[in-house]
Amino acid sequence: MLQIFKLIIIALIGLGLGLRATYYAVERGQDEGFGDGLIFGSVKAGPWTGWPKSGSRDADPYARALFARNGETPLGLTEGLSFLARADSGGKTINPFCDYVVKGSIPAARFWTLSALSPEGRPLATISERHGFTSSELLRDTTGGFEIRVSASAQPGNWLEIPSDQHFVLMLRLYDTALSANPFSVTASAMPAIVREGCQ
């Protein structure tokens, strides 16, 4: 009798724990960013994290489960690479009450885009209706360098508007890049920095 009781306890607790782990990996992870971390084969470069294998036949089970739940269609590996930043270059979580400057180098790519999205990956409601910049439309300095100012209030130059009271993440996409052949070779110095300026 005690043995059966033990088995039932084991089955129930095990089932609960297992489902809980899956829920955390897939459901909660979407909102809070754990899910990104659980997908294997991530590449980190400065504040940026990419999951190049998600867009290939080698996508791991966590990536597939996450995409099945949120309906995401990642970039195919030969189309380009996506990098997500939930924190700045100093390691602090991106704060909607602060201004940020994205500047520095960028890996060679035919086109690239930088966009601000909600933490769940949805477009942000802004007055300027600008959600990001493409490499073609960017204003550059005389040396070809760039600075994108991420702020809730109007800024000179490349201003990426964000709502003043909503959390957001930054997404960098490199299209038609030679890096696709060896995505894990990317280094922090090859990627733009996200520098925190003043806060309200």
């Binding site: 033990k6 088995l7 306890i9 084991i10 089955a11 607790i13 095990g14 089932l15 609960g16 724990l17 297992g18 489902l19 782990a21 899956t22 990996a25 897939v26 979407q30 867009g55 290939s56 036949r57 996508a59 089970p61 966590y62 597939r64 489960a65 995409f67 099945a68 739940r69 949120n70 309906g71 995401e72 269609t73 990642p74 970039l75 195919g76 590996l77 030969t78 189309e79 380009g80 996506s82 997500l84 035919r110 086109f111 885009t113 966009s115 999205l117 769940e120 990956g121 949805r122 477009p123 600008r130 959600h131 990001g132 493409t134 073609s136 439309e137 997404m171 996409r173 299209y175 038609d176």
Partner: protein, 199 residues
């Protein structure tokens, strides 16, 4: 009281197997559910696209119909396929400069092929998507002294979709990007339709 003391004294032999058992069951349940999720999920990309796009034609995704973490600078279109009705043919005439992305998605989310407009030869793209059995049929009727002119891709599942993305380099160019997607032709391959094959 005495009995409980005896259990505590047994070096954990009472609780240890229960604890270990729970962990093993939890691990199995976790792995099983992670692997099953893509097959059971009702809100995956295929379901989202099936709701708005008929199979075997190019359909532009309306604003807001995309998935999370989409690039706002890209126009998106899809072509759903069901290879049970025959192989799928994708043809495109591409301008040399604008960025076009092509990805091939299996029923449960796996991307089994992807390419950009750079893969086109002299601005033309001709892709035949089929099952291995259909490929055997097609190859059997290929002329022996010529190389096939089309790119042939085997799909891992009968159903799935092709996702086309076009970059609008400037905000005002979104209309052009959508037009580039609509200029693609995607549909059942007329040469390889079941009626043709039966003859």
């Amino acid at each position: 009281m005495k009995r409980r003391d005896h259990r505590l004294d047994d070096g954990g032999y009472f609780f240890l197997p229960i604890f270990a058992g729970c962990l093993i069951v939890a691990g199995l349940v976790h792995i099983a559910t992670i692997f099953l999720l893509p097959r059971l999920a009702e809100k995956d990309a295929f379901a989202r696209i099936s709701a708005i796009a008929e199979p075997h034609k190019v359909v532009l995704l309306p604003d807001g119909a995309g998935g999370p973490f989409d690039d706002p600078a890209l126009a998106q279109g899809v072509c759903r396929f069901d290879l049970a009705q025959g192989p799928l043919r994708l043809r495109a005439t591409l301008a040399p400069d604008p960025l076009m992305l092509f990805s091939f998605h299996a029923r449960h989310g796996q991307i089994f092929y992807s390419m950009t407009d750079r893969s086109a030869t002299r601005g033309k793209l001709d892709v035949l998507l089929l099952t291995r059995e259909q490929l055997n049929v097609v190859e059997a009727s290929d002329p022996e002294d010529e190389l096939p002119q089309d790119l042939r891709i085997i799909a891992p599942t009968l159903e799935g979709f092709l996702l086309f993305r076009a970059l609008a380099e400037f905000p005002g160019e979104m209309g052009d990007a959508k037009a580039r997607i609509q200029s693609l032709t995607c549909g059942l391959d007329r040469d390889q339709s079941p009626e043709q094959a039966r003859r």
